[in-house]
Structure formats: C-alpha cells, structure tokens
Symmetry: C2
Subunit: 193 residues, 2 copies
Amino acid sequence: MPRDGTRARARLRAAALELYREHGYDVTTAAQIAARAGLTERTYFRHFADKREVLFDGEAELRTILVDAIAAAPPDLGPLAVLVRAFNAAVPLLVANRPIAVQRATVIAGASALQERAYAKVAALTDALTDALVGRGEMASAARLAAQVGMAAFDHANLRWAGDPNVDLADLIAEAASEVSRLGEGWAGYNGG
Amino acid sequence: MPRDGTRARARLRAAALELYREHGYDVTTAAQIAARAGLTERTYFRHFADKREVLFDGEAELRTILVDAIAAAPPDLGPLAVLVRAFNAAVPLLVANRPIAVQRATVIAGASALQERAYAKVAALTDALTDALVGRGEMASAARLAAQVGMAAFDHANLRWAGDPNVDLADLIAEAASEVSRLGEGWAGYNGG
C-alpha cells in the first residue's frame, strides 16, 4: 500500500473508472473500488467523500491553473481575452488527461446522479473564475457574466475537440471566443447598438 | 380533495415550500408535504417523482414559453436576438412567480441536493433552447453555444432583478445581451478580428 496520498488517489480514480465502465455506477460500491485498487474502504473515504467525487478529482488541478493564469494576465486585457489565456494555460493538462476524459464522460453521461455532480462542478469552477476576475477589479456581476460566457466558449471548444482530436484545442478555444463575438455583433446590430 | 391535477400540484408546491422553509429540506418527508396539502402520499408521488421535483414544477411552463417564442421569431433574426425575444415572452410568468421565486431560491441555496437538481434543470432548459434554435436552421454546435450564452445573459438579468424589483426585467435582459456584445468586442479587438 503506497503511503503517498497522490498515488492512492490515482489508483482509486483508475479503479472507479474501470468498475463504473464494467458494471455501471449504480451497482458499484466504494468497498469494491478500494478492493480493486488494493486499498481499504477506510482509505477510500479518507480521500473521497462519496462514490461520485472520485470521478471529479482532476477539477482542483484545472481550477488552480485557470485561477493562477487569470491572476497573472496583463492588467489591461478584457475579461474574455483573460479567460481565453487561462483556458490556453490548461491545454497541456487537458491533452494529458484526454484518454481518461473520454471514458469518464461516457460514465458520467450514463448516470443522472453523476451528471448532477458534474453540473455542480462546472458551477463551482465558474464561481472560481468569477472570483479571480473580481480579483482583477471587475465588478462582481460583470465578472460572473464573463465567467459564464467564457465557460460556454470553453465547453464549446472541448466538445468540438472531443469529436476531432487532430485539431489544436487552443485554436478551437480562440474560435469559440470569436463565435461569441459574432453572436454579440448580431445582437448589437438588431438592438441598434 | 380536488380532482383537478393542476390544483393538487399547486397545493403540493405551496406545502413543500412552507415545510422546507419551516423545518429545512433534509428532514421534511413527502408524506408530511402531502399531509400539509390535505392530500395523500400516493397523490404526491403521482405528481412528483421525488422530494426535489416539487420545487421545479414551473420549469415546464417556462420552457414551453421560451421554445414557442423561438419557433415564432422572424427567420432573419440572429440567435441572440431570438433568445432575447424569447426571454421577454417569459417576463409575465416571471413577474407573476416573483414572490414565490425568492423563497424558493433561498430554500434551494440551503441544500446541495436541491442546487444540483437546479443545475440539471438549467442544463435541460439550455438543451431545449438549443433544439429550438436547431429547428430554425442553426448548426447544432453553434445553437448550443448561443443557448448557453443566452442563458448566461438571462441569469445575469434575473440576478440583478432579484436585487432590485423596481427595474424592468425586459430592460435588464436587453442590457445583459449588450454586455455580452461588449465582452465579444473586447475579445475581437485583442484577437485582431
């Protein structure tokens, strides 16, 4: 049994993904995940609060990268440009996680309890981006709108990337932000603004 | 006991909101909600699948209004303008529901299980808007991005409206769409596009 928590978590993550894919989320227990990982159920619950969290262990790392990149962006950049820079900073992590991400997405899509947790994680990430933009001096409500719009663009790019791994995710992120621009232009034209 | 399902649902919704506010979501049972409404537990479960759904009974009506307004919009309008029209069509419903909406939001904010269900409802509504835009001839991925961005603007307007009921929600919706435009302009300027 490894003493290093990072290795234990990685083994639990891999074991959970295997079991959820083999038998489904509903019937798999934390005890079975721990056993597959060669660890005890007690160790499982030291690392993860429930059967769902084990699938979302990578979120903290993504959040840290995004928040740090927002804080480090030049002060004169607009919020959407700041967010695009931050998403670009996360591309290496997303590329590294890609093989697992596809399996994980399939498991999540198959259980509404996991989908609801995934939505909550997106909301928590959006809150973190909002706070990071507020830290740059944005008003809270404007920061929240920018974070939601940025996350929509990031999600759009990731979905396209899931369908075609041969394109550059950074290019798709920039294209998604440009699509948001065109949406806004269409509205400004209609609204006379 | 009313034979009309609509009246039974309304009584169950009101009873659930009362009990969740008085005692909290976690300790309240479906049987208690039914008893408060003067109905049986069996009737409760004929109308709502679980303890959470009773708080989201208005979503179907909102979705119908939005989807119908998208389908009825002039064919030459851009997607964000179509969505703003649809959100405007829902303003009377939101105004009518306002007193309950505030209490409901407080209850939902107090229980993570309810928050997760609320996120799932937003996702389902976003899917419905996406499908309605696809029905107008938008590409699926562009429609999804537009629906997400539109929902971000709608959420932004509703949050501001929750803080100040004296302003016109329709004005806040238009302002939120204009804020999206300015976000996009900032990106286009940075990106040289």
